[in-house]
Symmetry: C3
Subunit: 470 residues, 3 copies
C-alpha cells in the first residue's frame, strides 16, 4: 500500500477509468495555496532535523489521537509551557508512535504517514514496534542527505506554488531572503491578521501598538488603524502574497456606517468592550478586509466554526494548537449577508469560505457559492480532508455549486514532507468520483479528463491568482 489502485472504487470498470484519470493528473505540478510550512525551513534550506519531531510532535492529528488513548503529550516531544520535562529524543518519540500505530487504522493520518514513508523515503514495510528503529534510522539518514534538503524536496515534489501563513506583524524576513534567491512568487506569505483584528486575544493591545510602530501609523485611531492594515497588506503583496486568511469563531459579518465603526473601534481599544462588541468588531473587520481586497486584489479566505483550545487543562499546560480544537454548529446564510450585500455581486473579489460543519455544504455553502459571483467554496478542511470527507464534499456540493465555484485543494500541511501524500490522496478520490460519473452517464470522458485537470491544478491556480501580481 499505496498500490496503483489505492483509494479507487471497487467496481472494475469504474476502477479502470479512475486509474486513467489519476494517471493523467498524478504528475501535474502542485499548487499549495494554504498551509503552515515554516518559511524559515525553506529560507535556511538546512536539513529537517528529526523525522519524529517533524511528523509526530508537530502533527496535531497524531497528537490528538494518541492523547485520546491516554498517551501524555510530553512523551511525544511537546514542551510544557511551564518548562516541565518532555521527551527530547526523536527515537523515543518515534517508538511511542509505533507502539500505538494500530490506533490510526483507517484514518487519513495513517494514509498520509504510510504514503510519505513509501514515496518520500522509499520505506514500504509497515511501522510497528519491531520495525520502528530501522525505519527511524533509514529516514534519519536520508533526511540529512542533500537531496532531502527543503528546496530540493520542493523541486522533487513538483511544487510550483507554496503559500505559508503569517501574522500581520510578521517581518517576512524569510520570504525576503527567498526572494533574493529567486524564489519570489513560488514560496509566498499569506496575510493572516487575526492577531490585530481579534480583540479577545490577550496580546491584542500590544499587537496594535506594534502594528503602529511597524507602519508609522497611529493605530489608536480608526483611520490610522485601517491605514496600517493597508500598509501591511502592501508589504505582504510585495513579498508575493496573493491571499489573506481569517480564522474567526463564527462567520458573522457586519457593514456599519463609518461613524458606528469608528465608535466601535473606540470601545474596543479603550477596553470597554462587551462580548458583543468583540464579535461585532471581528464581523466589521471582515467587511473592511473585503473592501481592501477589492482595492489590492488579495484573495480572501474565511475559516470559521472551530472552538479553539476546548480542553482548558491542556491549553494551560501546553498552549494552543495541540489537537483540542472542536468544530461547532455554524450558519453562514444570515451571518454572511452583510459582506455579500456589500461585495457579493463583485466578480473581481474572491471570497473563499471553509467549513467544519458538513451539514452546511448542501444547505448553505453550495447554494451561496452557486449564486454569488464573489463567493467560492473552499475544499474540505481539517477533519474532512480525508477519503470519506472529500467524497462527501463532492457529493454534497457539486450538483448545486458545480466545480467552477470551488477552488481545488488546500493541503493545510505543517510539514513539507506530507504535501505529496495529501495531494495524491485528493487526486485519487477525485479521479474515483469523476470515474463514477462517467460510468453512470453523468459526464462524458472528455469532460471528466478536463475536470480532473481543473481539480488537480487549474482551479487552485486560478482562484489564488498564482503567477499574477495583484
Amino acid at each position: 500500500m499505496p498500490s496503483v489502485d489505492f483509494l479507487f472504487p471497487a467496481d472494475p470498470t469504474t476502477r479502470a477509468l479512475a486509474r486513467a484519470l489519476h494517471g493523467h493528473t498524478s504528475a501535474m505540478p502542485i499548487v499549495s495555496p494554504h498551509g503552515h510550512v515554516d518559511p524559515g525551513l525553506l529560507s535556511a534550506n538546512e536539513p529537517i532535523d528529526d523525522i519524529a519531531r517533524e511528523l509526530v510532535t508537530r502533527n496535531h492529528y497524531i497528537l490528538r489521537m494518541l492523547y485520546s488513548a491516554g498517551v501524555p503529550l510530553e512523551s511525544l516531544g511537546v514542551a510544557p509551557i511551564d518548562g516541565g520535562d518532555f521527551e527530547r529524543d526523536g527515537r523515543a518519540i518515534w517508538s511511542t508512535l509505533a507502539k500505538h500505530y494500530h490506533l490510526f487504522r483507517a484514518t487519513p493520518s495513517k494514509l498520509w504517514f504510510d504514503h510519505t514513508l513509501e514515496n518520500v523515503f522509499g520505506i514500504d514495510e509497515p511501522l510497528n514496534e519491531s520495525t520502528a528503529d530501522a525505519i527511524y534510522d533509514a529516514a534519519t539518514k536520508l533526511l540529512h542527505a542533500d537531496e532531502y534538503r527543503p528546496r530540493a524536496l520542493l523541486d522533487r515534489f513538483g511544487i510550483e506554488f507554496l503559500a505559508t501563513t503569517e501574522g500581520a506583524l510578521d517581518p517576512l524576513t524569510h520570504h525576503g531572503a527567498m526572494a533574493a534567491d529567486g524564489m519570489y512568487g513560488r514560496v509566498v506569505p499569506t496575510f493572516r491578521p487575526d492577531d490585530v483584528i481579534d480583540p479577545d486575544r490577550s496580546d491584542f493591545a500590544h499587537n496594535l501598538e506594534e502594528l503602529g510602530e511597524l507602519t508609522g501609523e497611529n493605530t489608536r485611531s480608526w483611520d490610522g488603524y485601517l491605514r496600517a492594515l493597508r500598509a501591511r497588506r502592501s508589504t505582504f503583496i510585495a513579498a508575493g502574497a496573493t491571499a489573506s486568511d481569517h480564522g474567526h469563531p463564527t462567520a458573522l459579518t457586519a457593514d456599519l456606517s463609518p461613524t458606528d465603526a469608528e465608535a466601535l473601534f473606540g470601545r474596543i481599544t479603550n477596553s470597554e468592550r462587551s462580548v458583543e462588541d468583540s464579535e461585532l468588531f471581528r464581523a466589521q473587520m471582515l467587511t473592511e478586509m473585503a473592501t481592501m481586497s477589492t482595492e489590492d486584489g488579495l484573495v480572501m479566505q474565511l475559516h470559521a466554526g472551530s472552538w479553539r483550545n476546548h480542553n482548558r487543562q491542556l491549553a494551560g499546560r501546553f498552549g494552543p494548537d495541540m489537537g483540542a480544537d472542536i468544530p461547532t454548529s455554524i450558519s453562514y446564510v444570515g451571518p454572511l449577508k452583510a459582506i455579500l450585500d456589500r461585495h457579493g455581486n463583485n466578480p473581481s473579489l474572491t471570497l473563499i469560505v471553509y467549513t467544519l460543519d458538513e451539514s452546511t455544504y448542501s444547505r448553505e455553502l453550495a447554494p451561496l457559492a452557486g449564486h454569488y459571483p464573489a463567493l467560492k467554496l473552499g475544499p474540505p478542511w481539517w477533519f474532512h480532508d480525508s477519503p470519506e470527507g472529500i467524497r462527501r464534499f463532492r457529493q454534497l456540493t457539486t450538483e448545486t455549486a458545480g466545480f467552477a465555484n470551488t477552488v481545488g485543494f488546500n493541503d493545510d500541511a505543517r510539514s513539507l514532507l506530507t504535501i505529496p501524500a495529501r495531494h495524491d490522496l485528493v487526486r485519487r478520490i477525485d479521479a474515483g468520483f469523476l470515474a463514477g460519473m462517467i460510468v453512470d452517464g453523468r459526464l462524458s470522458e472528455d469532460d471528466a479528463f478536463e475536470l480532473a485537470e481543473d481539480l488537480a491544478h487549474g482551479l487552485a491556480r486560478d482562484a489564488f491568482r498564482v503567477g499574477t501580481r495583484p
Copy 2:
C-alpha cells in the same frame, strides 16, 4: 447520453436489475402534483414561443449558476424592474448559455437539459458554441409544429395529472377554460394563499381588500377573513384543486384560542404588528388551514426554510425568484407540535412537509412521518431534486419512515418541456436504489417491482387524491 443505463449503479448485477425495474416504470403515466407551469400556456394551447426564453430565462437553476460566473441576468433575457435594457433575442440568449455550458457539468440542470433536448427534440449532439445555432434552429422549428403544442405534449408525455400553482386571488380563468374543454381533473390549480396569509408582504393589506371583494366577505374581521378563505378554497376545489401549498420562512405552527387568534388578526390588520406577530400569524394560519382541510379534503403542503431573495441588489434590480433563495437551518419537531397536537392523529388529513435542510431527514422528518398518521414526507425539493440528492433522501428516510409515508415525486417544473426528464431521472435513481436492496437481500424482487410502481406513480396519485373530488 442518456444511454439505456443512465444513472444506474456501476455493479453489473445491480445495473441489470435497475434496468429491469426502470423498464417496468419508464412508460407509466406521469402524476405531476406540484409545479409552476403556466396554465395560460395550456389553456391557449399556442406554441411555446422561444426555446431559450422557455428553458433559460425562466429557469432559476440556470440563471443562478451563470450569474455566479459573472454573467449578467440581462444577457439571459431577464428584464430589469426599472425598464432597463435586456437581451430579447432568443438566439443570443441561447448562445450565451452555450458559451458557459461547461459550468453545468455534473449538475442536474445539465442532465435535465440534455435529456430534454434528446428526448423531446431528438437532438443528441452536445451543446457548445459551435453547435448552438443549429440546435436553436432545430428546436425552434419543432416548437412551432402542431405536435409540439402544449396539449399535444401533455398527451405525448403521458401526463395524467398536472397541478399548477395559484395565489388565493387568482381568477382561475385558464383552469375554467380548460374545464370547458374537458380537461377538468387533469390540469388543476393548487391553492397557494401566501399572498393573503403573510403579513410581511408589501401587498398584504391590498390583497386582503381584494379577497373581500372577490368573496363578498368583510376581511377586516377575523370571522369574515376565515369565511373568505373557505370560499376561495371551495372555488379552487370546484376548479379541480386537490391540494393547498404554503411557503413559509419557518415551520412554526400555533394553536391559539379563538379569542387570541382574533386579537392577533386585529393587530395584524391594524399595522400595529411586531415581527413576532407576523410569525405567529403565519403559524396560526397553518393550523387554520389544516382545520379547513379536515373539512374540505384539500391535501396540505408546507415548504419551509428558504431565505427568499437573499441578494438585496439583485432583488432590487430584477424582483423575486431569480435564483437567489438560500436554504437555512430549520427545525420541525418543536415548530410542528401545535398543528400535530391538534390534527396529527387524524388519518383523514394529509400534511406533506418538504425541507431544504437535509440534516432534518433522518433526525426529524422521517421520525415524525413514521409516527403521525396525518404527516407525510415530501420528495427531495429544489436543490435536492438531483441524483445525489434523491439518493440521500432514500438512504436517510426509508429505514425510519418506510416508503408509504412518502408521496412519490414532485417535479416542481416551470416548463412543461422538462417534466419527462425530471420524472425519468427520479425513476432511474429509485430503480438503482431498489436494485441495490435486492442485491444485498433487503428486498425481494417482487417487493421491489411493486415499490417501483408505487414510487413512480401510485404514491403520488394516492397522496394527492388524483381522480377524487374532495
Copy 3:
C-alpha cells in the same frame, strides 16, 4: 433471505472479503451491554408467553410504523391507561401485523423480524395474511418448548454478557435471584437514576422519599442525597452492574461550586424551581455522577436529544414509550465542556455519548472522542441502528475518532429473541465496511480481521469492563 450474502456490498471482490470477515465473527459470543430485556423473564425462566405480544406489542418500532398508517394501538395489544378495551388475543395482533407487513419493506424492523423468524424459529416463508396463522402456530409451539426458555436461549445465542436497565429505586430482586443461580456477572443491571435526578418527572418528590427510605439517608439534604446515590450505586455494583445510563433531554453539564449546587438542590426540592433550575440540576448531576464514577468505576452512558412523548394525545391515552419520541437538533461541544473540564482528561473514566442527531457525528462527537481520554463514542442508536445508519456512523466517525474510541455495539433490545438478529446485522455491515477498505487499500487484510473481532466483541467487552468487578 437472510442469504449467506445478506447486507454485503454488491461488488464481487468486496463481497467475498465481507463474507470471509463475517465468517470470522459470526460465531463470536455476544456482549449486550445496553438493553431493556425484562430481568424477571430470565430470573423466572418461564417460557415467553406469546410471540405477538413479545415481538409486536412491546416493539416501539413496529407500533410507530403501524400507527402512522392509521392502525390503532389498541388493536396491537396496547392497553389504554384508563382501562379501555384492547386486543388481548395474540393471534389477532399477529394477523394485524401480517396485514400491514408491506409497510415495513426496506426497514430494519422487517430485517430483524425476518431474521428472528428464520434463525430462532426456522421459519423462512414470508409473513403475510395467508401465512400468518401457520407462522403464529409454529412459533407459539416452539416458544413453549424447553429449549426456548429464556436461559436456554441465552446459551444458544452465545450471550456472554447481558445488561438490563433499572431505575435507581429498583430492588434488583431478579438479579439477586439470578446471582444465587450462578449467573452473577452474566446478566447484570444498569444503574439508570433518571427517576431520582430529573426534577421534571411528576414522581420526582415521591422518588426522593423512597430513595431516602431505601438507603436510610436524609434525601432532603444535598449531602444526604449524594450519599444515597452512592449507596444505590454500590448496591447495583454488588449485583454486577458495570455501567450507569442517563437519558437527558440535552447534553448540558455543569460544574457548580458545592455551595451553589446545594442551593440549587434546595430550590429543586422545595418546588420553587424554574425551568432553568431543572435543566441546571440535571446538568450538575451528570458531573456528580462522573465524579462518583471516578470513585467506583461505573462506566457512564449519556443518551440525549430525544423529545419524549411528543404526541400529547397518545401519551395521555397509553403512557410513555409508544413510539412517539422524536429526535431534536442537539449540540455537545459547549454543553459537555463542564464535565470535560472536570473529568475529560482522566483516562480511568469512561463516558460514552450517544446521539440521534447524525450531523453531530463528524462535526462534534468524533472530534471530541478523538481527543478526550475519558470520552467514547456510543454506537448508532435507535433510528440509526440500521444498515444505512450503521454505515453512515462508520463513514462519518472512523476517520476522526478511529475505531478505538468507539465501544462496539449495543442492541438496545426489548426482546431477548431479537438479540442475535441485531448483532448479526451490525457484524454484516461492519464486515462490508472493512472489506471495502481492504479493496481500496485503506486497510491490510490482517488489520481488517483484527478490527472485525474488535467491533464484534472486544471493544464492547473492554469499554463496559465485562468480567471485571469495578
